[in-house]
Symmetry: C2
Subunit: 235 residues, 2 copies
């Protein structure tokens, strides 16, 4: 089913890991949408009105109604455009497990990745250790859930693949910034394979930015917004 | 539909706000279950095996398969025992809004309530202000979502009512511990009404502990686990 483009809008930004989730889900369901890109470092009036509680991207606007929070958006897309491929598994237990790991990504992995981009010394070591241990747990989960296939969704990408969209590309940025290896053939071979296959998927390939572009953005963002704030901090 | 009690187990504790959610959802669906209470301050082998990632209650075990995380458990119960009353709304947009506010409770309100039980001075003032502002947002959301009826679910309790189970009784404990008013007729009349009606609901009344019992537990817990840790902290 293809919806008229003026029915579906997505407030986002090319660099936002959480926005990628919404875009991949819309692509998977072949939903046309208007992509409204926020200017980095600013918040549009539409964003402030559409997500007054968090004031964060992504926000999906469907028929004038705003839906914030990336995982909630992905579930909404799955439940609304039911004629496309299913995103969540059909079995309630499999759905619960998918929701559990998606929650883990947002609750444990993402909050480690963000401070890691600027962490130094012991703090950096501690966060890299935590992130590495978390990724090993995800490696084990992927092996179990995928039944040895490429994706969390088996042969097709699904909810957990879309949720993990927001993690691996930024882990690769952390690897480059700190010259470490977190996802490699020795410790997490299934995640390495996942990253290669997932980024080439038709619904994904125009969404995930090139690694070098993302590293460039991270350096620009740190220099412009993070480093000045740190140097004027009283601590 | 009533399931044999040995098919469904819930690892929990009478005092845990997140466990209340799972119990109310099971009661609403008339599911018989065995309630396995953890000893406070300890973790059973079954809990460690059933939720190795977080090691936290509640965990639902259905036919030997463990499901952690209270909101995931409630959704699982809704999707598994479909012949009982629906917990989530049927419309995808209403479901998204319900998921949004449930996320808000866990992301913003609960993390304020926990440190408030022991906060003092400026930190206490700051957290009380934050919590009060959050509860005003929830008051507005309740009015809008309930269409002026008693519950988030309208005339019946639903997902958001069950999610808010874990918030209001502990807000009442904070009010008693700090001699403040956070939910009252002047600022949040709909939440006051909600609290009165919700606690008397058949699926709820044997789940939520008496206020005085909960205050007693909070004082015991602070004295036994929080205060000693604070006094040996290097900060």
């Amino acid at each position: 089913m293809t919806i008229k483009s003026d029915d579906v809008k997505l407030i986002g930004g090319w660099q936002s890991a959480f926005v990628w989730r919404a875009r991949v889900a819309l692509n998977l369901k072949a939903v046309n949408f208007e992509f409204l890109e926020e200017t980095i470092g600013q918040k549009s009036q539409l964003l402030l009105e559409s997500n007054p509680v968090y004031k964060k991207i992504p926000v999906l606007i469907h028929g004038g109604k705003p839906i914030p929070e990336s995982l909630i958006i992905v579930q909404y897309i799955d439940e609304t455009w039911t004629s496309g491929p299913s995103i969540l598994p059909s079995d309630p237990y499999d759905r619960a497990i998918a929701r559990f790991w998606a929650h883990y990504f947002d609750d444990k992995l993402s909050p480690t990745i963000r401070p890691l981009s600027v962490a130094q010394g012991d703090e950096k070591k501690k966060l890299i250790k935590e992130l590495g241990e978390g990724l090993v747990l995800v490696e084990d989960a992927l092996k179990k859930i995928s039944n040895g296939k490429d994706f969390f969704g088996g042969d097709q990408i699904g909810y957990l693949d879309i949720a993990f969209s927001s993690v691996l590309p930024w882990v690769r940025v952390i690897e480059t910034l700190h010259e470490v290896k977190l996802v490699d053939e020795a410790t997490t071979p299934s995640l390495v394979n996942w990253g290669e296959k997932y980024s080439k998927h038709d619904a994904v390939k125009d969404v995930l930015p090139e690694h070098e572009k993302l590293v460039g953005f991270a350096k620009f963002f740190i220099a412009k917004f993070v480093a000045p704030a740190a140097s004027t901090s009283p601590h």
